[in-house]
């Protein structure tokens, strides 16, 4: 199940870009939203689709919510498949933009 290719929209690319650019490999939804300027209504369905496609995996932040004083964060990480697919998608977009520039210049 769930191994179907997610739709490659500009928002999806932005989310994947946030993962490739982030220094800690695991980031929370709020950090992704901050990095991509995406609204929660757009971001979470994308994260869901990427996770279903096994491009992302997630786990709970370590620590007790009572000790942390807030609910735990869900941390997302790009999988090997996700990294490979993201790189391929970026390459494709770069080639496409390069081709367009070549045609118009």
């Amino acid at each position: 199940m769930g191994t179907k290719m997610p739709r490659m929209t500009t928002q999806t690319l932005r989310v994947l870009g946030a993962f490739t650019a982030s220094q800690p490999r695991e980031i929370s939804g709020a950090e992704i939203a901050k990095g991509t300027n995406l609204q929660s209504g757009t971001l979470y369905p994308i994260l869901f689709r990427l996770e279903e496609a096994k491009w992302l995996e997630s786990r709970w932040e370590e620590g007790d919510p009572r000790e942390l004083g807030r609910p735990r964060r869900r941390l997302y990480e790009l999988t090997a498949l996700g990294e490979q697919s993201a790189r391929a998608a970026f390459r494709e977009v770069t080639n496409m933009i390069g081709g367009l520039l070549w045609e118009h210049c």
């Binding site: 199940m1 769930g2 939804g29 609204q39 929660s40 279903e52 997630s58 786990r59 869900r74």
Partner: protein, 195 residues
Amino acid sequence: MGALLIAIGIASAVSSQVLADEFKAWAPWLIKKFVAFAIRRLPEMHRERYEEEWTCFVAEIPGDIGKVLAAVGLGCAGIKIAFELNKNKQALTTNGSKNKKSSLVVRIIIFNMAAVCLLDAVLVYGLRHFCQIENGYRIQQKLSPIIVPNLVLCSVLFFAALAIFAFFFSWLDNRARGKGPSDGIISTDFKPHEH
């Protein structure tokens, strides 16, 4: 004029302060309601996880207005994710495709039968009308015994076939439901909530 402007200024300052305080007081309730709405859209197995995740997400957004807007966005996210899950479920269950196919077949059959009946009725009535004008009473008399039984037969056949197909497909549907996968979500490898 000056006094009026000062009065308006004071009144608007006081009212905006009151409104801001009201909003501040109501914001947590609103956020809770929106997050609960978003969570209710999701299937049971995903609710616990997203409730904690989204509560944390909203808490990390600065400002009350930002928090409320994020919670509204989560409502949309809940709807979209539920739609996505439903789509996956329909695509992966045999029930979904079977029902889809069977409903298509039923529609085609009903449409064809209705078209045949309509065509038949039009032809018969058209012929009768034509005969009345062209040849008068004699030919109409010859045709009239054909018209009524033909239409009655068509209608009886149509409703009989409709009933047979309705029974047949409800039986098929019941059988498929009995043997098919459960109504749960198909994604079995989704990470459950860890406590």
